[in-house]
Structures are given as structure tokens and as C-alpha cells.
Symmetry: D2
Amino acid sequence: MSKLESVVKEIAEEMRARPDRGEVATYIPELAGVDAGQFGIAVVDAAGNVAAGGDCDTSFLIQSISKVFTLTLALGKVGDRLWKRVGREPSGSPFNSIVQLENERGIPRNPFINAGAIAVTDVILSGHQPREALGEILQFVRFLADDPSIVIDEAVAASEQRTGFRNRALANYMKAFGVLENPVDYTLGVYFHHCAIAMTCRQLAMAGRFLALSGMNPATGHRIVHAERARRINALMLTCGHYDGSGEFAYLVGLPGKSGVGGGILVVAPGKASIVVWSPGLDVSGNSHLGRIALETLTKRMGWSVFGA
Amino acid sequence: MSKLESVVKEIAEEMRARPDRGEVATYIPELAGVDAGQFGIAVVDAAGNVAAGGDCDTSFLIQSISKVFTLTLALGKVGDRLWKRVGREPSGSPFNSIVQLENERGIPRNPFINAGAIAVTDVILSGHQPREALGEILQFVRFLADDPSIVIDEAVAASEQRTGFRNRALANYMKAFGVLENPVDYTLGVYFHHCAIAMTCRQLAMAGRFLALSGMNPATGHRIVHAERARRINALMLTCGHYDGSGEFAYLVGLPGKSGVGGGILVVAPGKASIVVWSPGLDVSGNSHLGRIALETLTKRMGWSVFGA
Amino acid sequence: MSKLESVVKEIAEEMRARPDRGEVATYIPELAGVDAGQFGIAVVDAAGNVAAGGDCDTSFLIQSISKVFTLTLALGKVGDRLWKRVGREPSGSPFNSIVQLENERGIPRNPFINAGAIAVTDVILSGHQPREALGEILQFVRFLADDPSIVIDEAVAASEQRTGFRNRALANYMKAFGVLENPVDYTLGVYFHHCAIAMTCRQLAMAGRFLALSGMNPATGHRIVHAERARRINALMLTCGHYDGSGEFAYLVGLPGKSGVGGGILVVAPGKASIVVWSPGLDVSGNSHLGRIALETLTKRMGWSVFGA
Amino acid sequence: MSKLESVVKEIAEEMRARPDRGEVATYIPELAGVDAGQFGIAVVDAAGNVAAGGDCDTSFLIQSISKVFTLTLALGKVGDRLWKRVGREPSGSPFNSIVQLENERGIPRNPFINAGAIAVTDVILSGHQPREALGEILQFVRFLADDPSIVIDEAVAASEQRTGFRNRALANYMKAFGVLENPVDYTLGVYFHHCAIAMTCRQLAMAGRFLALSGMNPATGHRIVHAERARRINALMLTCGHYDGSGEFAYLVGLPGKSGVGGGILVVAPGKASIVVWSPGLDVSGNSHLGRIALETLTKRMGWSVFGA
């Protein structure tokens, strides 16, 4: 058993034993009903070895983690012109704050807060029908994970559509400033659907490999993005990937990552590994409670922090 | 000539040839009078080799770069209790914003915005006279740089004292919330003085080695801080080291760094090097214009980004 | 000719002669096309005498002035329970700011900013179909003006529906906090339509009489509201009736009033008169430029300021 | 006994009987020690008749009510040039908020929030020594009240100086924007002292007469200010006199007024009376709890609302 395998095994056991679980998100019934007792982990290293444990093969909603994939797609589509529509700075405020938009003429601070991800979705949508854009996003995720079985949870997308008033406010607000090009309902439709993609830790870790490996997918030999773009997406994940808890995550874990309200976190150890943890209970900042602890432990034991040995 | 030496030489020449220089800070006469045509660079690698070029031996005001050293000192003094007085998140607003303090009960967002650095200075001051606290800071910087000749520019400190109304507002505001323990004038006196430390690129790069080398000073064999603390200070520099331009710096340069209004930038390539660039002309975010370009070039040519090869 | 008649005549002539007109609102074509050269005035005194001049019989869009009538209706429907859904304080920010909503949990500051008026419309709508609610509002305005010919400009309502992204953002934002009870599209539909009521200065001055006369309509002998409610609506008009220019209006004119982006202003001189001026060119705060000047002149010549002789 | 006398007598008795008193301010010992059981009222009508009751001859700290007198003095000194240094709009935020200053380049929203009153004091100070400026203010208040025995409570002024960090922050912040001309310590010294003037209800009601009587002091026949200026000061008191509770006060009481943290409220019934109530217990907005209730009762019984009969 490799060091990585034994560390992953230890962590899966330690997490299973912990009584503290955080609070499961309750704003839609599909999330509220998830069992908080679950914990999964999957790590794919540079050589393609997979170490996984716990509920690593249970599907969960990737939610905001999808924003990493839509950002990659939008950059592929319009390149640096994307940065006219969205910024690259940490927001200094909660994930769904509208204050910043008012102060900065409707330009969201970064592609990982909700407003920014909606603007990115709008870029992918332009020139397409919603169904086509959504198909493109799903195909891209399946391609990255090398797994055509990945699907969208339509019931969740429908729930988000019905209750997502704050996102609807953000989108209309950006529309008022001309930041969105497409009809608000179209853009939001695609956004709510790509947030409802369901994946396992193992699938998601496979999908994240290209960010750890300078833009390459080593299994297939495909270049997904140039090395510089992979570095830059990682930089954005580090400074902005955890809403108003990004500084804390960098301080404690020391790796670029993106969390989702479903309890998943995708983390990149550049040159070393693609990592996914999942546990549905969240901390006060809305990030997976056990997930964050597991990542802190993993980074320390493997010596993977980007900030030094 | 090593690769590093030739890259540093190239950069020094390229920067000297550029016509664009940015704007020198003018809020005090001592900064306004500095020649914008200067550019210096110094890099100390893990083995202790120094590559330097341009005006690398000209003293400049380190200004906010001193906040890295005061943070290190304060953590040494009170450890994690420091985080009751200051946060660890990017601010999402300019370096001297007071809005965030009002919304968050006087607790500054991080130790690198002005309010946060003033709170850190207050921690160092507690239990001492201002003169003693300042002596301790200066001794620490001299010790890190292994150079007892480093001094404070008293005329600059006096200018800052006379005109620093916004910092005085920040300090009184924190005092109103009980975040500062000492008399406001004492804390500000120490703060204005440590910002007025003058150093060369070469001296500053030597002083920053411990952050690149897991907390060790290899020249002397002294451990300055534990490895984990060095990593964490680096994490804070990456997420918060450039005020509201921190995301951009991470995106373009890909290394932890701290800039000062005097035109210096201290950057850490973990495990690889301590880097200082200096050029007095600033960009719109208040960071050295040529300095940022030089660092972007250096990181790319050396392949030093923490975000991947 | 009474003093009032000659003052109104003078003002109509003075305004016609002025070269400065302000800027006509351009956010919908129906407003952008209005001739900026127009000026109308109508004053109904306590005895029912009408003094009118200029384009006093030309219809214009009353826009936000309708908020006075919807507030009156909503108070009639739910009384002081209305104040659980909307505040009574000046906003200290522009008419369509969303920042305040985020800081105050979706409760708009007062019934005259857009968010507040949308919340008031939602109260009127509850228990009804949009068509019924709109019918009730229109009937109420016709009853107050004693003129069944008043209609809604459907083309304008349609334009507002198509372009009103900021109001849609405000409404969704309040909905996210549970401040709105009805479907956002229903509430906004009614809101956009009642803002598109078209009236002449003369009709509008008739409709405002009850506020000047302790809640009575002297023509018909009907009591519209209790005297205390009339006083309180007047108080709200004075402190909040002109968005972030309310302090200035009170300072210069000294009477409660409500302006609309169509260039109309309804003003109440308690115990003395109901006054309407209209001129489509707006000042930087979005209030009728000539209208404000005409009111300043009228108040001064008639000695009608509530703040003293 | 006149109607006014019997109404005042009733109110004094009703207030004495109420068990609810609000909370006495505790931020300085001199306020914290005041007996919350006290209530005083004094009304001077247009003819000079005085109706008073309760603790109407007990001195209390006028605190922010002094801002009415300093505004009058500053307008006398520089006229409308004052409005380059301070605005005329309600603040929409608490009395000591600093956020607004950051957003509006250091210009306070109105002369009655702390920042605005400090800017007004700075105008009075210009060209004088602090002692002279303070003397001028005290002389003016004595002249208005026709009572040379009025003094400043030096112990209170000293307490405020020692603990007024938030006001010191506001002043330094304005100084950073160039809004204050004099040394911050000088301006604050005068400000803290004029807030520490001690007066009785009777003295204060006498001092406020000129605002009720078109700028005249009928006792002496002196014109204090032009009628228009008196109206305008009243307008500012109505829209801005109670910090973020100004809308509520206008809604409930319907008269211009200015409250102080010592529990006093000066109210103007234009053309009719100058009114002062005092009771040290404050409501959540920092205004005298019994004072506000007493004023609501008085206005209703006397029919004095400016908003209609």
C-alpha cells in the first residue's frame, strides 16, 4: 500500500469516527434530505493512481464546483475577453451578495461567486439555445471525467428554478447593467441545471486532473488547456474558490480548491494530484465541515501545500 | 552564469529599456522626490546564491512590506490569539477602507491592510514603550537580513505622522471597538516608524529567505519560525498581500508577495527563492508597475509559479 | 384675479421663458420622445378654486407619483400592519439601490423608493388577481380626481416590463427574504401598470386634495382617510418623497411632495392647497428641473412653507 | 389656565405616572449616573407665554441639541458656502456611521450627524483660537436664552475627550479629505465642549424661540436670522434631526426637532411655539423615550402638526 493509499485510508476512518458533522443545506428539499453521516474521498495522483475511501462512489450534487468547468469552457470560447464581464478579485463578502454589484456597475468580482458564475454561463450560452449550451457543459464534464454516465438531477434543477430568487435578483441586476447578453431566464436555466450535475468523488477527481497536470489529461493524452491557463484557473480557485472563506482555506489547507453547497470540494495539488472530498454537513461559511478537516490532514501528511514544505 | 543569473540580468536590462514607469506616490515629499527611472532586483535561491541587477543596492522605503515582519513577530509573541484581533480574509476593498471596519465591529480583515497592520503593531507594543517595540522590530529585520546597518528614515516617519489622517481615523475607529489596547498615538508612532525602514533589494531578499525555506535561515542555521507558520504567512501574502489587487497578482505572478507604496515587492517562491524587485512608479492599484512585470517574467522563465509547471 | 391666480400666471410665464429645461428621461422610448419645452401647473385651494396655467391639460405619465395613491390604498387595506413590510425612514441612497435591502433583510426603507412601492403593490395584490388589483388602483385614482376618463398607457407599461431589470432584481431580492407574498411577475405587472397612469396637472391636483384637507374630498364630501393618516402620508412625502433629494426639496420648497420620472410633482400645502407642476426635463436627482423651481417660487410668493412664515 | 397650560400639566402628570423609561446612556459616567425617573417640559408660545412642568428647571446636558445653535452660527459666518463642507440629506444610517463618509469623499450628509456637526464646528473655529470659538458659541446660546448663567460642564467635556474615539475617527477621516481646516484636536475640543453645555427645559425653550418666530426673538425684538434661514433650519431639523429615526419622528410627531443623548428634545411648532422635553431614558434609536411620547401627545392635543389639522 502506497503512502497516499494509507493516508487516504486513515483519513476515511478518522472522518467516519468524528461526531461533528456540520449542518446540511436545507434551502431545497433535495439537499435537506441527504444523510449527514456520509464522507467520501478520492485522490488521483500524477501517475494516474487512484486512492479512494468512504462513500467515494456515491453521487452528490456538485453545485458550485461546476463553476470550475464552466470557467474553463468560457475561457476556451472567448479567452481574455471574459475579463470584461467578470473580475479576478476575492469578493470580501458572502457568495450571493448584491452590494458589490451595485458599487462596481454590475461586474461581478470573480467567476466563482454566484453572480460571476451566472455571467460566465451567459458567455457560454451566447449564440446557442439553452439546451445546446447545457449539452456542451455536460459533454465537457463527461469528457474530463471520461465517463458518459454523468447526468443532471432534473428535480434539483427544478427546485432551484422555483426558489432561486436571490440568483434571479443577481441576474436581473447584471442585466440592468448590460453585463448579461441573453434573456435572464435562459441564462438562469442553464446555470441552475449545470449546478445540478451529480457526480461521485471518483468521477470528480478524474475530471479535475487537467488542473493538476498543466492542462493535460494524461489518461487520454489530450491537452485540455494550455499550461498557463491551468495555472491561472488554479490561482483563481485559491484566491476566490471558497467565497468569503477563501483566505481561511488557503491558510489552513494551502491548496487551490472549489467547494459546493452539496458538501463536495475539488482540490488541486499542482503537479501532484487531483483531490475530491465530500461530506454533506457544512460549516458556517457554507463549506463542507469534514471535507475541510480531511483536506487539512491530507495536505499536511502528504506535504502538498503550495506554500512550502 | 547560472540560468537564474542570466534571467535576472535579462530582466534588469528589459526593465531599464521600458518607457512605461507608472506614477511615483506623492502623498509625502520624501516619496514624491524619488527618481521613477530606477529599477532593482535581487534573488536569493535555496542554496544561498544571489542574483541581482539594476539598482539592487539602492535603499528604498519598504513601507507595507514591513507588515510581513511585524506579522511574524506578533505571531511569535501571542500565537493564534492574534486572530481575535485581526482576520485572515482578503478585504475586497482598497487598502485604507474604513467601511469594512464598521460592518465587522472594528476587526480588520487581514494583517496586511493598513487597519490590520496597525492592530498587529498594537500587539507588539503591548507591555512595552513605543521606543522598545520599535527597537524590537528593527532588530528583527536586521537579524533576518543579517545586516546591522539597516535604519529607519526619521524624516519619512515624521512626514507620515503629520499627514496620516486616514490611518489615524482607522486606529481611532478600532480603539472605539476595543481592538487596540495601547494609546492610539503610541501605536501609530510605532507603525509609522516601521513603515519608514529603508532597505536595498539585496537586504530585503536576504530578510525574506526564511519564508522560502520552511522557516529556516540557512546562512545562520537559525530557525525563525516553524515550517507551518512560514507556510501560513505565505498563504496570507498570496490571498491578501496586494490589497484589492491580490487576486490579479496571484493570477499573473502566481507567487505569494507583499508590495509597498515605495515601489518594492517581496516575493516568496516556496522551496526555491526569496525575491525582491523595486521600481518607484506605481500602477493604479498602488503596486510597482515595473516590479509586477518583472516578477511575471521571472516566474514564467524560471517556472516558479506555485500553481503548476 | 385672486393672488393665487396671478402668482400661478406669473410662474407659468416665467417658466415658459427660461432656457434651462433639464434632461428628459430616456430609459424607455415613450419618455424619451416627450417635448422638453412643456410646463404645466395646477393649484386647487381649500375652497376648491383652481388656478392653472401652461400645459396644465396635457396628459403625462405620473410614474412614481402613483406611489402616493397605492400607499393610501394599502394603508386602508391592512393599516399599520403595512409597516412590517416596509419602513418609514429616508433611504440615504438612490431610488433603485439594492444595497440597503441586503443590509436590512429585504425590508425597504420607505414606501416611496422603488423597492418599497413594489412591496406596497404586493400588499394591494394579495387575495386578488393582478387585473383586479390594477382595476382597484385605477378606480381609486379616478374617484379621487372625480374623473372616469383617466387611463393607463399600455405601451408604456409594456416598455417598462421589457426593460425593468433593476426593478425585477429588487422584487426577486425581496421575494428571497419573504417580503413579497405574490409571484414576482404578478406584483411587477401591477406595479409597472400603475406607474403608467397618465394624467393632467389639473386631474392630479384634484386627486391630491384629500391630503391637503385632513383626509376629506370637499367636492364630494367624502372622507378618504382619517385626518391623522393624511398627516402621516404628508410626513412620509416630506421626508422620503424625492429619493435621495428629499432633504434638498424640504430645504428649498418646504412642502411635502412626490415626484415622478415623467416630470410631474404633486405637492401638498396642508390646509391650503393641492399643487401639481409638470415639466419633462429632469435635474441630476431625477426630479423635474422647472417643476422644482416653480414650486420654490410658488411657496415663497404664497408664504406656504410648513416651516414658518 | 390656558389650553396650553392644562395640556402641559396633563402631560407632565401622565409622564410621571408611566413605568416605562427607556435606558439612560452609559458611555460616560456623567450620563450613566443620571436618574431615569426625571421628566421635564417647557413650552413658550408665540406671545411669550410659558407653560412648564415636571423637572423643567433641572439642568441637563444638551449634547446634540447644541448642533442647532452651531449650525445657525456657522450659517451666519459663511452663509451658503457652508454647503460645500456638509450636505442637506438624511443619512440613512446611524449617527456615527463612517461608511457614508468613505462613499462621499468625506462630506458629511447633514449638519446634525456627528461628522456634520464636527465640520460645522470647524467652520466656526476657523480664524480663531479654540477658546474664542467656544466662547462665541456659549455667548450665542446665553444670548438666545437671555440667560448669562448657562455654563459648560467641564467634567463631561473631559470625559468625552477621553473616550470619544469614534468622533476622533470621523474627524481624522474628514481631515484626510481636506474637509476640516483646523487641527483635529482643536476642532474636537470645541465640539466636545459645546455638546457639554448644560441647560434646563425652560432655558432651552427660550433659546429656540427664534426658529418658531421667523427668526425673531420677540422678547428683545432682535432679529437672529432672516425668516428664510429659520424655515430652512427647521426643514433640516425635520428631515435630519433624529439621525436614522428622523422619518419616524416626522411620522409620529409631525414637527421639526433635534434630540440629544442626554434625553432632551428641542421642537419647533412654526408660528406657534418653541417646545423642550427632557427625560434621560432613551429608546433604541437613542432618542428620549418619554420625550417622544410627550411630544406626540402635545402635538395631537394642540393640533400643531405641520402636516395638517
